[in-house]
Subunit: 421 residues, 2 copies
C-alpha cells in the first residue's frame, strides 16, 4: 500500500466514523432543531455567496476545456446561489418524516406494536459536475435525519467545498454536528471506490450523474444503491386517444427538456389511429427540431423518418430524437414497453378508461401515467418538495425519492411483561 | 464450458423465463383466484401426503449420517404434513396486499397521484434442510403475487420435489400458471451461484439457513438480498426494572428456544440492581441448563460463571449460553448494544417510561421491545400470519417479512391531458 493510499484510507475512515457519530445524534434530533439547521444553512449560503462565486470561478478556470453543456452545469451565478439557499428553505418547510407511526396495532396478548419511521443512517452521495447538488442533497439528508457524505465531481471541487463549509456553519449554529454533512476532501478517484466498500460507515449510496457513473456504482458497490440507470420512457397513443391531447402530451413529453430522465424516447401508436394521428404529430415534432426514427409503417407516413433499429427501442437518447412504432393493440404496446423499457416512467393517452386501467396495472414501471406527460416524473411535481433522484429499484424506495423515501422503519413493541408461550 | 454446465445454464434460464412469465400473470390475478390457488394447494398437499412421506423416507435414508438436529429438521411425519397444509390455508385467509392504495393525493394542476402496492416479481428462495419451507415460502410468495424459484437443500430434495409438484397441481387447478412456484430441479450446487447472477429473471433473493449460506449469498449476489446474518439479541435490565418481570423475560428470551434468531444472547444489567437482581436470575438460568459467561462484576456474583471475552459480546450462540455484563447506566447499555449487536431485536425491562422511550428510540435495531421477550421477533407473533424471515437490511423491508413486505409499489398518475410547464 502506498503512503498516499494509507492517507486516503485514514481520511475516509475518519470521515465515515464522524458521519456515523453524527447520524446517531441526528436520529435523536427533534424536528424543530433540524428545521432550524436548514434555515441557518440557507442563511449561511447567502452570507457566503461571494466566496462561493469566487470558488466557482476558480473551478471554471480549471475546467475551461469542458463541453458547453458541462460548463453550464458547473456554472454558478448570483441567481443560482439564491436558488440553492431557497431550496434549503423549501426543504426546511417540509414536514419532518422521522418518528411518524406508519402503523400501530395491539395483539391479543396485549403487545402494542408500532412501525415507526427512522432515518436510514449515513447516505453516501456521488455526483458529477453540478455543485448545487451539494446543498440540495445535503439538505434533503438533513431533513430526513441522515448524515451525508458527499463526493462531488472534481470539476466542481472548490465550489462544493465552500458550499459544504457554509452548510456546516449553519448546521453547527443550530447545535447539530457539523459532520452531519461532509464533503470528501480530495479529488482522488479512489475515494469513490472506497465509499462503495464502507458498509460499516455508509448505509446507502446514491449516485447522481451520467450512465458511466451509475453503471460503475451499481457494479462495484457492496452497499445498497438507490438509482436508475436508464429513463427509456414511452408514450402510447391508444386507439381511443383524443388527438389534441395526444399531440400536446407527445410534444411536451419529448421536447420540453430532452435531457431529463422523464423525457419520452419512444412513441407507440395504435394502428387504428396511426394514419390520422401521426402526420400532424410528426410534423409538429419535426418543426420543433426532433429527429424521427420509425418502423416501416411510420416511414410510410413520414418520408423524413429514418429507419429505427432494434437498438433504438432500447435507447435513452436524452436528445431531440424519437423512436416511433405502430403497434397492433394495447397488448402489443404493453409487451413492447415491458420488454424494451427501463421500468422508469410510461404513459398512455386514451379516453378508454378500461384499457387505461389495464395499462396502469400491467406496465411494470415505477411511474405509470394516464393522459399526462412523462415529464412529470419528478419529486417536486409529485409534491414531495424536493428529490434526490428517481429509483427504478424493485424494492422501495421506487420512483421519486424525497425526504420521506430517505427513511426506513423499525418496530417498537410495548409490553407489560409478556413472554412467548 | 462443460456439457453439464451448458445444460444447467439452459435449465436455469428456462426456469427463470417461465418464472418471469408466471409473475406477469400473477401480477394481474385477482385476490380470489390467488386465495383459491392457496386452498387448492393445501388440499393437494393433503391428497399427496403419502407420496410426500415416501419421498421424505428416501431423503432420510440417503442422509442418515446427518446430526440429530439436522435429521429432525429434515423429518416429515403426518402431523408435519398436516401443519404444512394448514399453513397454506392460513396464508389463504390473509388479506391480499396487492392493489392497495398506500397513499393518494391530488396536485394543484389536477394530477391524481396514487402509490399502489404491487408484487416484487420473481423471488428466489435458497434454503437448507427443512422441506416444509417449500410450502411455506411458496405460499407466501403466491399470496403476495410473486413467482417463486425455490432452491432447497440437497438432503431434502426428494421431499421438496413432491411438495412443489403438489403445490403446482393446486395452483394450476385455480387457473394460475404452474410455474408460479418452481423448484430448481437439480442438486448441483452451481445452481445457487447461477440464481445469484440472474437479475433478468430474479428480482429478490431470500436465503434461509445457517450463517455460511447467508454469508455466501450476501457476498456473491448481484440481486438484492432480504436476510439477516446474525440475531445477536440483548435484554437490558434497567435500574427501575420490576424484578419478577425481569426474571421471567430473561428466562424466556434465552431459554424458550435457544436456536431461534430472536433468542437473547447477551444480558446487560444496570449496576444499581446487579447485586439484587442477578443472583436469582443466574440461579434460574443455571437450573435451566444455561452456561453463563460474565464480566468481572458478574463473576463476583456467580462463581459458576466463566469469563466473557470481547468476542462473546459479538456472538450469537444459538445455544444455552448467555453472556452477561454489568453496565453503568442506560447510556452504556445503548452504546453496548449499538456497538456489539446485530441490529436485530433488543429489549429493555424497566418501569421507567422516560428511559424506556430513550431505549426504544436510540437502539438502532429492526425490533425494539419494552417489557417483553425478544422471542416475540416473529412474523406470526406480530400478526402477519406467516413470515419468510426477518430482515436486518437498512432499507425496507426491515424486521419480520410477511406477505405485505414481499411487495413494492408503483405510482399511478391520472391526468386529463396535463403537460409540464
Amino acid at each position: 500500500m502506498s503512503p498516499d493510499t494509507t492517507d486516503l484510507t485514514a481520511t475516509m475512515n475518519k470521515l465515515g466514523a464522524d458521519a456515523r457519530a453524527a447520524a446517531m445524534e441526528l436520529a435523536r434530533a427533534d424536528a424543530d432543531t433540524k428545521t432550524q439547521a436548514l434555515i441557518y444553512a440557507a442563511e449561511s449560503i447567502r452570507d457566503q455567496a461571494k466566496d462561493i462565486l469566487d470558488a466557482n470561478a476558480q473551478d471554471r478556470e480549471t475546467a475551461k476545456d469542458l463541453s458547453p453543456a458541462l460548463t453550464d452545469r458547473l456554472m454558478l451565478d448570483a441567481k443560482r446561489v439564491a436558488a440553492m439557499a431557497q431550496g434549503l428553505d423549501d426543504v426546511a418547510a417540509l414536514p419532518d418524516p422521522i418518528g411518524t407511526e406508519l402503523a400501530r396495532w395491539t395483539r391479543p396478548n396485549g403487545l402494542d406494536i408500532a412501525r415507526v419511521r427512522v432515518p436510514l443512517g449515513v447516505i453516501g452521495i456521488i455526483y458529477e459536475s453540478r455543485p448545487n447538488v451539494t446543498a440540495d442533497a445535503g439538505g434533503l439528508c438533513l431533513r430526513s435525519g441522515n448524515a451525508a457524505i458527499l463526493r462531488g465531481g472534481s470539476e466542481s471541487f472548490h465550489s462544493s467545498r465552500v458550499i459544504a463549509s457554509a452548510l456546516q456553519k449553519g448546521i453547527a449554529a443550530a447545535g447539530l454536528p457539523a459532520a452531519s454533512v461532509q464533503l470528501v476532501p480530495t479529488i482522488d478517484r479512489e475515494a469513490v471506490g472506497m465509499m462503495l466498500r464502507m458498509p460499516e460507515f455508509i448505509d446507502i449510496i446514491v449516485p447522481r450523474g451520467g450512465k458511466g457513473l451509475i453503471e460503475r456504482v451499481q457494479r462495484e458497490s457492496r452497499i445498497p444503491v438507490i438509482a436508475h440507470l436508464d429513463g427509456n420512457c414511452h408514450v402510447y397513443l391508444h386507439r381511443d386517444a383524443d388527438l389534441a391531447t395526444a399531440q400536446s402530451i407527445v410534444l411536451n413529453a419529448k421536447m420540453r427538456r430532452t435531457g431529463v430522465c422523464g423525457a419520452a424516447e419512444t412513441l407507440l401508436v395504435d394502428c387504428a389511429i396511426a394514419k390520422k394521428a401521426l402526420p400532424p404529430i410528426l410534423a409538429a415534432l419535426h418543426a420543433a427540431g426532433c429527429e424521427i426514427r420509425g418502423d416501416a409503417a411510420v416511414r410510410a407516413l413520414d418520408p423524413a423518418a429514418t429507419a429505427a433499429t432494434e437498438q433504438d427501442w432500447f435507447t435513452e437518447y436524452l436528445d431531440a430524437i424519437l423512436a416511433v412504432r405502430v403497434v397492433d393493440d394495447l397488448d402489443a404496446a404493453i409487451a413492447h414497453i415491458n420488454h424494451y423499457g427501463s421500468h422508469h416512467t410510461d404513459a398512455i393517452v386514451t379516453e378508454n378508461e378500461t384499457d387505461a386501467a389495464r395499462f396502469l396495472q400491467e406496465i411494470d414501471s415505477a411511474i405509470v401515467l394516464h393522459n399526462a406527460s412523462t415529464q412529470f416524473a419528478d419529486g417536486g411535481e409529485f409534491g414531495m418538495g424536493a428529490e434526490i433522484g428517481i429509483s427504478t429499484n424493485r424494492l422501495p424506495p421506487r420512483g421519486p425519492v424525497g425526504a420521506d423515501q430517505l427513511t426506513t422503519y423499525k418496530y417498537v413493541v410495548r409490553g407489560t411483561g409478556q413472554v412467548r408461550p
